[in-house]
Symmetry: C2
Subunit: 201 residues, 2 copies
């Protein structure tokens, strides 16, 4: 059984837990205290020199990093990834959008506020980070106003990647009330078979 | 023939030009002045609501955004992308590393310095951005000290993605002299058949 090197409050880790649950693939979880340097210890850096969770460790010890690369690895040849060349590239388009234009703003602001680590340097960056987060939500809202899911009219790992931090954006003060299409999409994602919550009850 | 919505000094755009040259796929180029809002105009936002180049526009008008998603679209079923499931995920791992842990530091600092747009707010972020850029170079150096290319011992779109901003990191003040494995890899990339420079002579 593979091992997921994990953090319970990380949306990037939650993506992997959600996809594995929906694919019926069990894993062993190891929790890391990412607020206190657990992913910078030598034993962890041997698994991912970039010092970040999630890492999926396969039975032969092979370690794969980067949440969206892990999603792709799990989803190939399953219903969570379309088969057409353009559709597959479109899934990647939204996953790269998520990591470049969404996560550094919505997830980072959420982390600073939820974990109460907002020092003066971060405070100075807050207006720009919040504006960029809303810009990402605007792009999503526009797309979802005419589409039920991000790619090809069906649920895929593009939805999993974007759901992870969007559904908890309120923790960072982002007002989802102004985004009706996003809220309806969040409901559709939650209604998918095998859905599990970020923080299991 | 497809159209590449392009910017001559963008490493993200250069990735696409380089891959298309090596795959023998011609395109029409349209240049955008990204320093003066050309990608925020309504006509461009209709092609990419996220307001960024590159965008690859296909003959039927379909537009694909995000440089690394475009690379994947071009490279599937070619020598630029390995065929094994784990190797393909490993290519994505390095491409997500590039967009999350490398580009926001090395490319952004380069842009600020090269284009002389370093205001006080950016100046305050410079030490942290430079440190994060060097951390990304450290991860690359470690990997390349035992591997000729990023994945599976052969040249792929993972190398193209990371070459784009690494080879011009010096423009942002990053000292590549301290990274012998990276410099040897840059030479190997430049020696690939069909290589073209970022700024054509």
């Amino acid at each position: 059984m593979p091992t997921l090197h994990d953090n319970a409050d990380s949306g990037n880790c939650y993506k992997v837990r959600l996809a594995m649950a929906q694919l019926g693939r069990p894993c062993t979880r190891i929790e890391y205290d990412t607020n206190h340097g657990a992913t910078r210890a030598p034993a962890f850096l041997a698994k991912n020199p970039n010092g970040r969770v999630p890492v999926l460790e396969l039975d032969d010890g092979t370690c794969l990093a980067e949440s969206n690369a892990i999603l792709w690895f799990l989803a190939e040849d399953t219903d969570l990834l379309p088969t057409g060349r353009l559709e597959r590239a479109r899934v990647l388009q939204w996953m790269f959008f998520e990591q470049y234009s969404h996560e550094p703003y919505i997830a980072v602001v959420r982390h600073w506020i939820k974990h109460n680590v907002l020092d003066a340097a971060r405070e100075a960056q807050l207006p720009q980070r919040c504006a960029a987060g809303y810009a990402a939500l605007d792009v999503m809202e526009q797309h979802l106003s005419t589409q039920p899911f991000f790619v090809a009219g069906r649920y895929s790992i593009a939805d999993i990647a974007l759901y992870a931090y969007t559904h908890v954006a309120g923790d960072g003060g982002f007002e989802l009330a102004r985004y009706p299409a996003i809220r309806a999409w969040l409901d559709r994602v939650r209604a998918q078979p095998g859905h599990v919550a970020m923080h299991a009850a």
